[in-house]
């Protein structure tokens, strides 16, 4: 049930817990761990390992999945970046690529998938429709702003975007991960 360390309430004063008390370890173990992994070498090691394990969920919401499939294909081969071919289980994945239009009927399911993914998790909005509604922006059955439900890290415009454009978005996301704090998510 626990989706990650951040969902638990933090100790009120984290610095107090770390104050050295002779002979006894007093304080919240979580705070100590948080402090320890925040140190630069460990932090960069963890971020580096996250960089090379961006596994996307296989959630196709619309037609951009064709180009996502082409990106997974032989010419572009994102496994060079540690991006494995899309996996069926969201419990094992870190990356949600919203591939196209999000309809009102699909939104509930996307939310379920997103909540089932363990932290840290990232989302890329692929294609015009996922970013802003695109060609169908005045339709009665689609969601124009998916970022109200799912926090989006990178927006990739295009209808559909070229596989290279998606790869560039992944590279942009990797830059973001490299810079971020371990427990920021």
């Amino acid at each position: 049930m626990d989706a990650g360390p951040t969902t638990e309430p933090k100790a009120t004063s984290s610095t107090e817990g770390l104050r050295p008390v002779p002979g006894v370890w007093v304080g919240n173990l979580r705070d100590i761990v948080e402090r320890l992994v925040g140190l630069p070498p460990i932090k960069s090691l963890i971020n580096w390992s996250r960089l090379y394990s961006l596994w996307p969920v296989h959630l196709t919401t619309a037609c951009c999945s064709a180009e996502f499939g082409a990106m997974m294909g032989p010419r572009y081969d994102p496994e060079r970046f540690g991006m494995q071919a899309a996996v069926g289980s969201m419990r094992q994945s870190d990356l949600l690529v919203i591939e196209g239009t999000v309809t009102k009927k699909m939104l509930k399911r996307i939310k379920v998938v997103w909540e089932q993914m363990p932290n840290p998790k990232y989302a890329i909005a692929m294609g015009d429709c996922a970013c802003s509604g695109g060609l169908f922006h005045d339709s009665y059955s689609i969601i124009n702003e998916v970022e109200k439900t799912i926090p989006i890290d990178v927006y990739v415009p295009g209808c559909p975007p070229r596989p290279e454009a998606v790869l560039n978005a992944v590279i942009k996301l990797r830059e973001k991960i490299r810079r971020e704090e371990v427990y920021s998510k």
Binding site: R75, D128, C131, S132, Y155, P157, N168
Partner: protein, 157 residues
């Protein structure tokens, strides 16, 4: 027996030339006339707004820019501004432009962290990318007279 044949066929492919383009370091070569982002020639645009009219998704808004330079053909300095998260790259705007002020480029890398950064102002659109050939001018003629969408479309009459 045919299992072995199939297996052998797979093994043969190990020794073939790699098909993968190592993307950030190598680029797949795009043909002329690839429909990437638009290029705006500020010295040709008259600000007529046909591009904004033909756009299927309200990507284009006509904005007044505050540039120091003056443009004789466009005294009001009214130029198109693109919001690329809406653009479907159909390039009807380019084909319908009566003065060939818009052109195709091979630039497709438009991803950003924030949605608002994907708004392309006329100044940003007018930057000529590397290895640009001027496809519209080259193949469809100067001032659009050569292009059937404008010449023979219902718009001219």
């Amino acid at each position: 027996m045919s299992v072995a044949e199939a297996f052998w066929e797979g093994v043969k492919h190990i020794f073939k030339k790699t098909f993968t383009v190592k993307h950030p370091y190598q680029q797949h070569e795009l043909p002329d006339g690839y429909r990437g982002r638009h290029l705006l020639y500020l010295d040709r645009c008259t600000g007529c707004g046909i591009c904004a009219w033909i756009c299927p998704e309200k990507t284009i808004t006509m904005v007044h820019v505050t540039l120091e330079k003056t443009y004789p053909q466009n005294p009001e300095k009214r130029f198109p501004q693109y919001w690329y998260v809406r653009c479907c790259f159909c390039h009807f705007c380019t084909d319908y432009c009566p003065t060939a002020a818009l052109d195709y480029t091979k630039d497709y890398d438009l991803a950003e962290y924030e949605k608002d950064l994907i708004i392309w102002s006329p100044e940003r659109l007018s930057k000529v990318p590397e290895a640009h050939v001027g496809y519209r001018t080259k193949f469809h003629g100067w001032a659009g007279v050569d292009h059937h969408l404008f010449r023979e479309g219902g718009l001219g009459e």
